[in-house]
Amino acid sequence: MKKPLDRPELRADDDSLFIANISRRAFLKDLALTGFVLAAGFSSLAWAEETAAPAQPEKYGADAMPHGWIDDPLVFVAIANDGTVTIICHRSEMGQGIRTSLPMVVADELEADWQKVRVEQAPGDEVRYGNQDTDGSRSMRHFFMPMRRVGAAARAMLEMAAAAQWRVPVQEVRAELHHVVHNATGRTLGYGQLAKAAAKLPVPAREALRLKKPAEFRYISKGQTGIYDGQDIVTGQAQYGFDTHLKDMLYAVVARPPVFGGKVISYNAKDALKVPGVVKVVELPSSPPPADFNPLGGIAVIARNTWAAIQGRKALKIDWSKGPHGSYDSVAYKAELEAAARKPGKVVRNNGDADAALKDADKRVEAEYYAPHLAHATMEPPAATARIIKGNCEIWACTQSPQACRERVAKWLKLPVDNVTVHVTLLGGGFGRKSIPDYVIEAALISKAMNGKPVKLVWTREDDLHHAYFHTVSVERLEAGLDDEGKPVAWLHRTVAPSISSTFAPDTKHQMPAELGMGVINVPFVIANLRVENPEAEAHTRIGWFRSVSNIPHAFAIQSFVAELAAAAERDHKDFLLDLIGPARRIDPRTLGDIWNQGESPETYPVDTGRLRRVIETVAREANWGRTLPKGSGLGLATHYSFVTYVAVVAEVAVNEDGELSIPRIDVAVDCGPQVNPERIRSQIEGACIMGVSLATLGEISFKDGAVMQDNFHDYQLTRMDSAPHEIRVHLLPSTEFDTPLGGVGEPGVPPIAPALCNAIFAATGQRIRQLPIRDQLRKS
């Protein structure tokens, strides 16, 4: 049985020699004492460079992220006397396997024996570790190279230390699986024996590092490294945000305003305080707009255990005001979005003259698609534990953004940022919800109200579904014209959806470049007359990031519509789609109106239609596209480029006589560039398939009188095993050259699933689904 955790569980050994928790300043002091001069490559603080230079060329990728990247081995690697290598993981683990994959990269370049590697989670500290916002499918994309350099630099230092001890030139030694070997004599020294001497050496210059050639990789690209936390997970020892246990800890839940923008008018806690175990009831302040990352306010019930807190909350009597969004109604709002989509809106991309071409077209096709709000429904609802001792606040939280937690908690508690420590636990799912630290601030405020006592704040499932930062809701209206050969000559797309920007600037009525760049303006289609418009939409709830974000409605509409056009042109969908994409070419995303490009350089990451074609051709071949299926079964195709990764899907569905849908098989082809951990890439894509199926078939959050109508998994249903695809085949496009840029993995599998399913349903039944979720639209009444 676990002991209460009174100290943060930092497991660095006292005799860890190479770094671990020694401050940068302390290390510099040590260097000065030992008389070494700092090497040029030592200054790896990208953030400092960023803020120092006045005029800079445009920055992309990790360089453009807050606090950039760090590649200092003294920050990320510790080697103990016994040879144990501790590697810091500074990104949050939420199922993508990053606590395995990033340390594995370090271990590979370090020539470390993975059996002797221990992974330690970094607390929130971006100055020290570089950017920690674990979102945007970019952990590996942004940190593959810095982590390789971390490993290579540490390896070089061990080699130098061995060479010095043997008094031989460093060129004569090589590191090999936790030892340094002298080539000529075969003498070896273990990493543990070398650590102390190596730690005193200067970190080699970045330019001087020798990185491995791909053929030398031991772990990278092999897919043989098991999940680091696997054993802890299957034995119930893994520690999530919900599991934090401190001595004398209290437990809290909060009753929040049912309507966004609502407030407590009055409340009566008399009955709540009678519940055995309830200690105190306190009011939390509401926040004026914008929503930002702020807690919603409400009434907190603090108790001696979670159940008592929940029972106490049930006994509260609260009179809420509704505020300005009290009439938010999903049925009426859908009609508003449709009305907006049927009128011209802000032009966000324009090529040729779509109106004239539509008028002259031989055949005209139009369709409207609706995709509702979604909640992330992480299996672990939000949870955070806080305590405050002498002006220092310590947090344990399942968070994707520990630095944001630190900064926001500091602001709310009026403490210096340095006085706030955020320990990152495992996350029981994130999907974008845990990028937002509202719940962490709540925990800190409640601890403060309890004079700094440790308090674990948990959200129930109802809290989670009622108060998410919801995936947007959208109407996508498409019109296209075909010439007499069935070739598309005009394309008009109106996309209408409340923007995530509205969460930070409530007057926002248009999608921001990042949302438009998620597959709606940057369509690489060969159509001379193409216009994309973005009519206004007002937000009435908190809109946030949901795994793959606006790509979901955009891919659903566009990839469904292309299938509709192919049918209108009486052509094979795959052939039609390939013709629409046109020949293999590398397109500057700016010429497609996409100035955002996922934050990446347009030169390094152009839209490569050759790669897009290849995933389509691969998935079609592997799924045996065109194969004959029994009556009621069908294949559906869809493709989507997002997070600088190319994905294509073929779904096989069967619809029985009662209109019940089953999914015997999904094939997915993925080109994410070089594959660092193919095994975890496969698992992410398998998971994305099922999340895609879930949102396509069942997912919907709806509002009435301003409040969310769904309460728990009985009315916000998720795909279960009996309705999941029976078989998923993942086809990773070969890429052995590790000098080509990496693509994202966590998110890009999700968007093409819904349209592939709907296209398969059309093939199976002739019924076209234009409104998600599919739910019982196929049922025969």
């Binding site: 299957v234 119930g236 698992s683 998923i728």
Partner: protein, 166 residues
């Protein structure tokens, strides 16, 4: 004070008799491997065994668990089948975030103990009370079949294709 038999040992619990077993395990006994997911017997994250039967601990009052043998994820490895299930979960890389997996493992172990060669329909029936938001169902099915001595999922390394099915 209530005494509960958990993983073969007596544990004293000082909570009102109507408190769900889940919170006694988690908050008072520090057995946090049993997870909260819904509080309404809808998701299976809190699955434990009561006298060998898979049970949702979020809706079982501690008074109803007295005199029963309670096994949690922390104790299931002592059972031969439980241990095999845990090993299969690791070998096949089933977990993603892992939060639902203790419940999945408890449900799968109960199934395999009662039915060592389950059919797909048996697996669907036994496992559909447990939600996995990461979407690991195909690997869960494959892991159950591996324990049952049936075929494993295939990885065709040459073409970069993998096939996960039951």
């Amino acid at each position: 004070m209530t005494t509960l038999n958990i993983n073969g040992k007596p544990h004293k619990v000082d909570l009102p008799a109507d408190t769900p077993l889940l919170w006694a395990l988690r908050d008072q006994l520090g057995l946090t491997g049993t997870k909260f997911g819904c509080g309404m017997a809808l998701c299976g994250a809190c699955t434990v065994h009561l006298d060998g039967k898979p049970t949702f601990a979020c809706v079982v009052q501690i008074s109803a668990a007295v005199d029963k043998k309670i096994v949690t994820i922390e104790g299931i490895g002592q059972d031969a089948t439980g241990q095999k299930v845990q090993e299969a979960w690791v070998t096949l890389g089933v977990p993603q975030c892992g939060y639902c997996q203790p419940g999945q493992i408890m449900a799968a172990t109960a199934l395999l103990k009662q039915n060592p060669k389950p059919s797909d329909a048996d697996i669907d029936k036994a496992m559909s009370g447990n939600i996995c938001r990461c979407g690991t169902y195909c690997r869960i099915r494959a892991a159950i079949k591996q324990v049952a001595g049936q075929r494993r999922p295939s990885y065709e390394k040459a073409t970069g294709s993998s096939r996960i099915e039951g």
